[in-house]
Symmetry: D2
Subunit: 383 residues, 4 copies
């Protein structure tokens, strides 16, 4: 039986970096087929782009509303199964609401919405409809992130004490937004990016990674956001003291001005019995340290957790990277949709992807970080 599922894409047309990444990620494991799209706010450009990705004319739409309406009328087995939203942030919410209302599953770029209220509304909608929702916190798709989470769950580290998570980048260390770099300009524009550049763009990934691996929720934060590059309206660096459930504490640092850092997400997590270190730029190595024996170097393809092995495509030493991690999210999501279509109760494994719950926490994290910094004081995590 064909378990492939059909995707419609909103946004991601000509020149849109992240749309291309989503398309590669959905092709990788051949479980998802792009069947339609509304790629651009300009219907002409949308049509033109549809050709580039080999879609028939009648499946390329001028607007997302048009797409949802038309696809709804197509028969099962032809119409799209889910909508992938890769638009600017402020469009996530309306598209997602419309798609869910029309009965389509949704995959959505992060941050999920612009405000915490929108996020809660979306969460409510997902609950009501019973539909599936993927939030693309890519980094949790790496096999060794899954393995780290397993190690914590299995108690191998003992009770968690400390979590140090960083996401330094250096590409915004000067006025990149003035160089014609589209990626840069919207990110430091409050009207498009929300209340924080660093926390919305990357800090939220770091917070999600920390909560995902540790299984602990942030409860309190004391944040200090700064804007270093002259003339910038949003912060370009921020650090946060964290408290987690069960007495764990942590540190989070995100920066756009850390010259020399590319995409330096990394996490260190320490429990009573051991510690783990993982760096996104070398994602196939996880270092495990122990109270009473030598440090171990764990490697993709050589770890013993099934959930990590299942997400590994090639033998040890053949590096898998960001696109593969991204594909891991989508492939699980596709598996869950296929299960749903087949009327099967989904396997836990196919449901292993970040969803609307993570989206709500992400928006709360951003709001809390901005608020705490403004007050220069500890604040409660907003949800």
């Amino acid at each position: 039986m064909d378990r492939r599922v059909r995707m419609g894409m909103v946004g991601g047309g000509q020149g849109a970096f992240i749309g291309a990444v989503h398309r590669i990620a959905t092709r990788l494991d051949d479980k998802i087929e792009l069947v339609c799209g509304a790629f651009d706010v300009d219907p002409q450009r949308s049509k033109a782009f549809g050709k580039e990705v080999f879609l028939p004319d009648n499946r390329v739409y001028g607007t997302y509303q048009e797409m949802i309406e038309a696809e709804s009328k197509l028969p099962e087995g032809e119409r799209m199964d889910f909508v992938s939203i890769v638009t600017p942030n402020h469009v996530h919410h309306p598209v997602a609401m419309a798609a869910l209302s029309a009965g389509f599953h949704v995959a959505c770029e992060k941050p999920m919405t612009v405000t915490l209220e929108q996020a809660k509304e979306l969460e409510q909608k997902v609950k009501e409809t019973g539909l599936l929702f993927l939030l693309t916190h890519t980094y949790t798709g790496y096999p060794l992130v899954k393995h780290a989470r397993e190690m914590v769950r299995n108690g191998q580290l003992g009770k968690i004490r400390r979590i140090v998570v960083e996401y330094p980048q250096g590409w915004m260390a000067s006025r990149t937004e003035d160089t014609g770099c589209q990626q840069a300009s919207w990110r430091v524009d409050p009207s498009q990016a929300g209340g924080s550049f660093t926390m919305g763009d990357i800090g939220t990934h770091a917070a999600n990674l920390a909560e995902t691996i540790s299984g602990l929720k942030i409860t309190d934060m004391c944040s200090d956001l700064h804007s270093y590059v002259p003339g910038r309206k949003l912060d370009d660096d921020g650090s946060i003291l964290l408290k987690f459930e069960d007495g764990a504490t942590g540190l989070l640092w995100a920066s756009g001005v850390a010259i020399g850092e590319e995409n330096g997400l990394n996490i260190r997590i320490y429990g009573e019995k051991g510690g783990l270190t993982w760096r996104q730029e070398e994602p196939n190595t996880l270092v495990a340290a122990w109270l009473d024996k030598p440090k171990e170097v764990l490697r993709t393809g050589l770890v013993d957790s099934q959930i990590a092995q299942d997400k590994t495509r090639v033998p040890p030493g053949h590096p898998e990277g960001y696109l593969e991690a991204f594909a891991n999210l989508y492939t699980n999501f596709a598996g869950a949709i296929a299960d749903a279509k087949a009327g099967k109760s989904a396997s836990p494994e196919s449901h292993d992807f970040p969803s609307v719950k993570e989206g709500v926490r992400g928006m709360a994290f951003i709001q809390g970080a901005v608020e705490s910094s403004k007050q220069q004081a500890w604040t409660k995590f907003p949800v």
Copy 2:
């Protein structure tokens, strides 16, 4: 205009690791469509597997002969453009010859053939037909390998003096071939693998990498192959002193018994003005050292050669790996085919992939390595 090209696959059915890798690599950039296949020597299994990869029944064939004959009769625009050969080594030659004779381009796993003579015959055939041939020396597809080659070509290192290339692995350090691991058993069976395990399987990649980056050809070799695991008929470790054109010298080491090594291909190359170090397991870093200034860390996405930038899909710090390197080979090959179909003279860039010439040198390398070790003496490179 649709520049996508159509692929037929021979071999690579159920359980065949490398076939799956080829299929992912061809999907990644969406320039290649799998349209038909003869996936298994058992026609029933071939048919069954065709369904798994979503092919219509009538494009799944029982034998490669049948496939070539049937596809030849289909109209341009429907029939396959090239055959991808992912069978065991000894089948490469007949399939490639048949495909070329019928006018199809060919992509072929390495080693290209079993003997040097077959390799030369194939080279002759390619010349005669004027068709395109891709030999999947995957590692030359990495952006930083291309950049290293550019640095040498541009004279940044000066005249090359020394090349140290290694390909250590540890997975064959005990009797892996007795554990039911198919990958292991054929590799140490002389009837399937030829005269050498280490040199045929991995040493040939190392030699190709050295010649590709340096632009220099091996002229002499002094080899010492050994079999360490009891009962093994082929070598599982080998080292070679090398002489190259223009007075450069080198060292090549390949091993299956280097415990702790996964897929440890690495190269160091030293010229009059500088040196380079690259390791396949961390393929996004290239270290450049200079006579009179500090060592530099070059990174995928941040180097200045166009040929490397063109093969980079995501921003710096988002690691790309083995599958992406593999896709780089196929995408260039597809570009060359599309050019050929369009009657355009191909761009040099689209022709940037290893081909039949590298295949002949690879077979010569293996033959020379075995011969020199047998004689325990220096020998000339056989071609």
Copy 3:
């Protein structure tokens, strides 16, 4: 002319780790001679230990008071020039005050005193007497730390924006203090260690390193100290948000429970034009990143600042470590004393060592960290 200077040691007898380190450090460059000592509170044990370090009986004293008195009566050229204090922390202040009062220069382990008031009193005393004072913040003795400081001073990084400094250790992750380990037990005893384990023992090194390299002073701190190991009276982990002069900000983390970390002091410092990374465990590498060119790997012995080269004893690639860094402090201190004895105004280079000013700031740092954590709020740096 003999520029060697004479040292008397207080503390550091049998079994005292740090005393042995000071003695090695003072021997390394042969500029300092141990001439007398009061090594133990037990005069018998002091005498016995004096023999082990080859001192004549009449130069081994029962108490520091006795030593200061007796040495004062010896002629110049025979009597000690300075006192090295390697006792438990609470004894630093009385010995230093007595030595200074008697006209002897002083070298002192950190933290300089137990309270900020004592520190200020000592600073006053040093000013009054005009004598020299060395505080052994060892890590600033590394050549590449000196070079990093030069790079900042020369403006190579531009205006400093961010400083991230960490000092994680893991040796206190369980109840090490119950295992008979003397090093552990006093460190978590408030009566001997003061108000904080992590900030007094290691955090103060981290703060000193940050201020030393950046040339900027901490102005505000928001601290969160925790005690994870049950039954422990002092914190064993702490993190601090920092503000520095001139708008720079920072993060400081010190821990005794970071399993897998040995002596993991490291610093990252980012300015408008570049960034630096240095790790104490691999002290001979300094990574410099730049806005617009590749990252550089700077190495001990290969950097261009004279002040770093002068503190390098062996050629590049011959690693120098902790003891050499320690010796660098003492050798400069000895040079300053020799200058003073010769009536020369000291060269700036020989005065390149941490002194009483750093000691006052260190005590203020500890006090501020404890206070801020208690209040769970931002506080001003206490001096």
Copy 4:
């Protein structure tokens, strides 16, 4: 009882790098006292230098002959116990012979002599006199080299199969000998350096390291030496295929033209059960890989062999380096002398240092390497 021993030094005067290193190394652990010297062929300069190292005039000699004669007449307890020879290579042999003949123990820089015959003569002399002889193969003094040797001895790696040892340097990649660098000029002058630069200067360290850790002797070699820098009379790069006892094989590469390499001695050794990797530039890490469990990171101060722990002065994470390794050789040597003086049979541990046997093998290695390269053929190890 004072177990310190007394050293006289031959060579190592003003400007002599290696003499200074020996003096630091002998001071470090305070077991050795410099009591006399003949530091320079020019007696005036020798005298002048003696002052710099605080020797009384009457213990500074014009020639080594004079020193040996005069010291012989001094009473036990005052006269030197051993002679340290830090002259150019061709002077090692006469000084060592004279010192041994007069009843003094000898410490000698490597290579031990200029010819294999001299080496054998010296070995014979040592046997006859029963005196102690230290050959300063520094790198075997590192704690983790000792630990690696223990691991092999204990069978942790199983039967050894492969040894890959490298000693690349880049400082001779251009005509360094023309820049007034004394270190460079004598090394490529056949009359002072013997038949090979790379093998005499650094290759012999690599061979010694391989034999020391593995406990296996080289039996056959196939060498290829080259001179890359124009006008140079001796090789500046060389690689060798090796066979060891018991069926192990290996590779050795030494180079002066590997730009970017500083003092890159490193070794990888693979047995039936595990593999080890050690790099001199980061000497406090030893990576151990295993057939069936994760790779381990072993660290100085945290390994379980007593022999390694005994040679560690500071806690884990406080790096010890080259000078400390050097001191480890001298301190053991001093212990053996003290034992001999006390009439005690020496402990095996105090006898843990390279000696005249290693010196003979070193000279044989150099001779074999030159011979094999000249013949371009495999040759037997000459002893």
